[in-house]
């Protein structure tokens, strides 16, 4: 039993991300040849280990990857397909594998201009509070002073907080993120002549707010229109269970955040193969 555990340990960490603290990492012969592109020496063969029908060889120069270990959050393929089209741009375009997901690292502190009537402001914050309550690692709250905010909502008749949008002809938002794809500032500007009453304003606020939580897209799947991410939901929409699950997953501790699509897909492919073939649950390494 002890031997079995040792072999399993080496297999797991040799094939995937080894644990340098344990000292020795063993990898398969196939992987050894791929990595070092040389013939085995006598010294190598002295350190062989055997597991089932596999020969494992000591990887002397193994360097453990740096980064934070993220416990894997398992999701089925149907869910992941929808998630990818929501969180990454151009999922269907194979030439644009370098599309990134974006997320808020810090609390979202929203200032909303007083030019929105009280009823609209209240309804909007009821909505954002509900989202905040449902998404564990996402804190959203209202601030009374624009200086304390990182999320400003105003109209074209207010002070123009984001000069880059002052000449925009339609309702829009402007978002800033850093080189880790962490969103740190955002402005939303509604055009009074297009969103000309409080119902239209509220609907636009809710709509843009959800999109702004991750620079989200509407999905390419033809989801039922009751789902917000279908892109065909009607005014006065409420988020469905699936909508919430997609946002929850985006902010889950179990995925590497800010990655590009290829890394996301590779991580899932490797980890799922490991679960299905080897019954091993590995952590993801997030840099």
């Amino acid at each position: 039993m002890k031997t079995y555990k040792l072999i399993l340990f080496t297999l797991v960490f040799g094939l995937f991300y080894g644990n340098a603290q344990q000292g020795e990492v063993f990898i398969s012969l196939k992987r050894f040849k791929q990595k070092y592109k040389r013939a085995l020496t006598k010294k190598d063969s002295l350190n062989f280990r055997f597991h089932k029908n596999d020969t494992l060889v000591l990887d002397e120069f193994y360097v453990a990857p740096t980064g934070t270990k993220v416990p894997y959050d398992y999701k089925d393929d149907n869910f992941l397909e929808i998630y990818k089209s929501v969180a990454f741009n151009n999922v269907t375009d194979s030439t644009k594998q370098k599309s990134f997901m974006h997320y808020w690292k810090d609390d979202i502190k929203i200032y909303i201009s007083k030019s929105f009537d009280k009823k609209t402001r209240k309804a909007f914050f009821d909505f954002t509070n509900k989202v905040s309550e449902k998404i564990d690692s996402l804190n959203i709250y209202q601030v009374k002073d624009p200086k304390d905010s990182n999320y400003i909502i105003y109209t074209d008749s207010d002070f123009q907080y984001e000069p880059r949008m002052s000449k925009y002809k339609s309702t829009d938002y402007y978002v800033y993120w850093n080189n880790k794809n962490q969103i740190y500032r955002m402005s939303m500007r509604l055009k009074n002549d297009i969103e000309f009453n409080s119902n239209l304003k509220l609907n636009k606020l809710k709509n843009q707010f959800i999109i702004s939580l991750g620079q989200f897209n509407y999905t390419n799947n033809n989801l039922d229109c009751k789902n917000f991410f279908s892109g065909c939901s009607k005014p006065n929409f409420e988020l469905t269970e699936l909508d919430y699950e997609l946002i929850k997953y985006h902010y889950s501790y179990g995925i590497c955040k800010g990655t590009d699509l290829k890394t996301f897909e590779d991580n899932h492919k490797r980890t799922k193969e490991n679960i299905n073939k080897n019954k091993v649950l590995t952590n993801l390494i997030h840099n």
Binding site: F196, N222, L223, P235, E245
Partner: protein
């Protein structure tokens, strides 16, 4: 025999192509704890996860082509798509509640109110007016400043008559439509100076019609039709306008429809 096989294969593949362009609606259901995986490392455990079950429905069981006439259908395709595949059908999928700016002359408001009633004979289309802006989703708004689809440079090339009659001279419109090109609110922006224009009513009738359909106008549309570019004094909806509108709103497509998918639907 060889020819027969070839013909059969050709027809199958043709059928395949047409079906491909018509998407299926995906209904989802999250089944709690439906996935269970045995894990032996780092510890023996069961990995439990939810499953997302997707069932697909054909979206087009209710689709019945409205226009039987080949020529009229061909006209429809021109107006709706301009024979280009990049354009998607635009439709309203909520009742339209129009609010008039108080500055609009009374007779214009009354004429338009009567005009809007004609649209209620169209399936899936409901137009009415309201005196409360909070209940509206369509605003005919008068602007102090000049609004126009034309730039100052464009205006230099227009004759005085064209400035008066061109529908987007002094008037524009904006729509709020979702990812599937379904519209839920809109504004017609009218320059204050247009209030004196004798063609204002005609322009508003045409623009309102276009805001429901996003149709292209053409010189080949029937005489007096709002869709005929030569019509500068539109009085009413012609039979041609109504037929095309009926075809447009015969079915509210629950997805994006371009020329290819429209043609595929006709083949169903």
């Amino acid at each position: 025999m060889k020819n027969l096989v070839f013909t059969a294969l050709f027809l199958i593949s043709l059928n395949g192509i047409s079906q491909e362009n018509i998407p299926f609606r995906e209904h989802t259901k999250i089944v709690k704890n439906a996935i269970s995986k045995d894990i032996i490392y780092p510890k023996r455990q069961k990995l439990i996860s939810d499953s997302l079950v997707i069932t697909k429905d054909s979206l087009d069981v209710n689709f019945v082509p409205f226009l039987k006439d080949k020529k009229l259908n061909s006209r429809y395709k021109y107006h709706a798509f301009g024979n280009k595949n990049i354009k998607f059908i635009r439709q309203w999928n909520v009742p339209i509640r129009v609010y008039f700016d108080e500055q609009l002359p009374k007779d214009i408001k009354q004429s338009l109110t009567d005009y809007f009633k004609k649209f209620n004979s169209i399936n899936n289309l409901n137009v009415s007016t309201t005196k409360n802006i909070e209940n509206s989703n369509y605003y005919l708004k008068v602007y102090k400043e000049h609004v126009s689809a034309y730039t100052d440079k464009d205006y230099k090339t227009l004759t005085k008559e064209e400035i008066e009659t061109e529908i987007y001279s002094g008037i524009t419109y904006d729509l709020n439509c979702n990812y599937n090109f379904k519209c839920t609110s809109g504004v017609i922006k009218i320059s204050n100076s247009e209030l004196k224009n004798r063609y204002l009513l005609s322009k508003l009738k045409i623009i309102f019609y276009l805001s429901l359909t996003d149709f292209y106008r053409s010189n080949y549309a029937e005489k007096e039709s709002l869709l005929n570019k030569k019509t500068i004094n539109a009085k009413h909806l012609t039979d041609y306008d109504i037929l095309l509108l009926k075809n447009h709103y015969n079915y509210i497509y629950p997805y994006k429809v371009n020329l290819t998918s429209y043609k595929s639907l006709l083949k169903l």
